[in-house]
Symmetry: D2
Amino acid sequence: MSNTQTAATAAAAAPPLNREEMKGASGEGGLTLEELKEKMAIFAKERDWDQFHSPRNLLLALVGEVGELSEIFQWKGEVPRGLPDWEEQEKLHLGEELSDVLLYLIRLSDICGIDLGEAALRKIELNAIKYPINLCKGSSRKHNRIKTIPDDAATTSNDNGGV
Amino acid sequence: MSNTQTAATAAAAAPPLNREEMKGASGEGGLTLEELKEKMAIFAKERDWDQFHSPRNLLLALVGEVGELSEIFQWKGEVPRGLPDWEEQEKLHLGEELSDVLLYLIRLSDICGIDLGEAALRKIELNAIKYPINLCKGSSRKHNRIKTIPDDAATTSNDNGGV
Amino acid sequence: MSNTQTAATAAAAAPPLNREEMKGASGEGGLTLEELKEKMAIFAKERDWDQFHSPRNLLLALVGEVGELSEIFQWKGEVPRGLPDWEEQEKLHLGEELSDVLLYLIRLSDICGIDLGEAALRKIELNAIKYPINLCKGSSRKHNRIKTIPDDAATTSNDNGGV
Amino acid sequence: MSNTQTAATAAAAAPPLNREEMKGASGEGGLTLEELKEKMAIFAKERDWDQFHSPRNLLLALVGEVGELSEIFQWKGEVPRGLPDWEEQEKLHLGEELSDVLLYLIRLSDICGIDLGEAALRKIELNAIKYPINLCKGSSRKHNRIKTIPDDAATTSNDNGGV
């Protein structure tokens, strides 16, 4: 999103989503990846957009959204957790860009035939094997030699600052 | 992931995840964003990694993973939906890179104090307003003037290929 | 660039640059990286923008521009070399986004104290060592096991499609 | 680049490039974009790699390299200009990743039929029109409403931190 009038603006002006309704949509336990996948599939089908949703088209669209996400942070220098100084509208905008990345990621996974939820759980398991708590805890020097959670179980690559 | 021996290799060698267990972990309705967020938070806390998980650190880590995802597709030319010609191991690898992006995205959202599930539902609603079915359906010319699902409700920007 | 009225539009309306003048600016042999670096430094200094040009700010700005570059290609499917079917304005827009990436890359290198020209020449030499002509030529199978030009001389990483 | 043994390692071990030779190669005025373009074209031709260098393949390869560049910075927090605390080898590695991005960018431009040098000069001119010195200088508030040098002449988009 790069326009002066952002969706965040529209969202701020619009009536708030009914939280109960959202809960209703996603069940007791919260929103699932599966639900989002289905919503996206229906959305595309209704608009006859499947023809445009090839893997590499979606991947480039995802890259585009990551670029828009980066633009939000680009001139800020380091920002503290929780973004205490951000205006509400800026947080709404951030939520939109994070969502855009998520939605394309889920759509890309679906189009590629990947079960993203299953893959994510497996990856967390692999990461737990790769980064044993007793080896990884506490030392920043060790952190500098090890990559972090969502990284590759077998890689030994990032000597320069993996956490 | 860029190493010759990938986590995919490890995953292929490892016993398969117990699907029932996974279902158990995520309840009847599938894996939720909330569950993944909590798993990531515990993972980081156990390793004392919260100190490294600042918003911009996580954002750059996300960009790194998007790069690794892109590398999988970079020399292939266009690939068909469902990736019918890919070897099983290559799909496992793809699942890992998609997961890496997802996990950092969820972690980044959490650290920024954004409810990603709520934001995603809101974004889908905004997209539905922005891309009315009757206006968007069918015509590729119209698709060329309109951006696709996970895009911005208020942007009119991408004249050059928005779907 | 994501606005409906792009700089490409402005460029199309503006008088063409004087090619001789440009040659004059960059000498007989064409535009150098050094000249671009100096132009950028002056530009920032005149506007008192050095304060914003920290390494990570510039890196995120670069990522933002790569996103905008990707948006140009995102819904097109495969496009042939030379972009024979693109309108002149679309090519102007593409030139702008390519330039944005280049200019931030040069600025980032400068701010980090890296001599980009020297680094690039060295990288080409390393690539020549890594990809000997007789081993790399001709076979697509070999290409699938080897990464391409601007890649890392020592990496053996990308089994999945390195050229 | 993500391997433990990086090209930086190889470069450190190798004899230094002959600076005079490099100057010789690039003439009095320094290395030109044109020279790099020609080197890349010869490199690809010698290895029969033109077949792999389609626009979108190269674009995804570029994204991959931007990811590797980001990995260098991802766990560091803010880093000062000039990178005073970085080890020599880390700077060599950074130079390689910056070069990888540059070389793919130049190759992508060439394959698309874009004269990158001409486009970059034009973009700087457009930026100078867009960001008049007297309007942009000094005030960070103004900077927050204006995007920076390599940005789009016509965009008014980034309300959230454009410099």
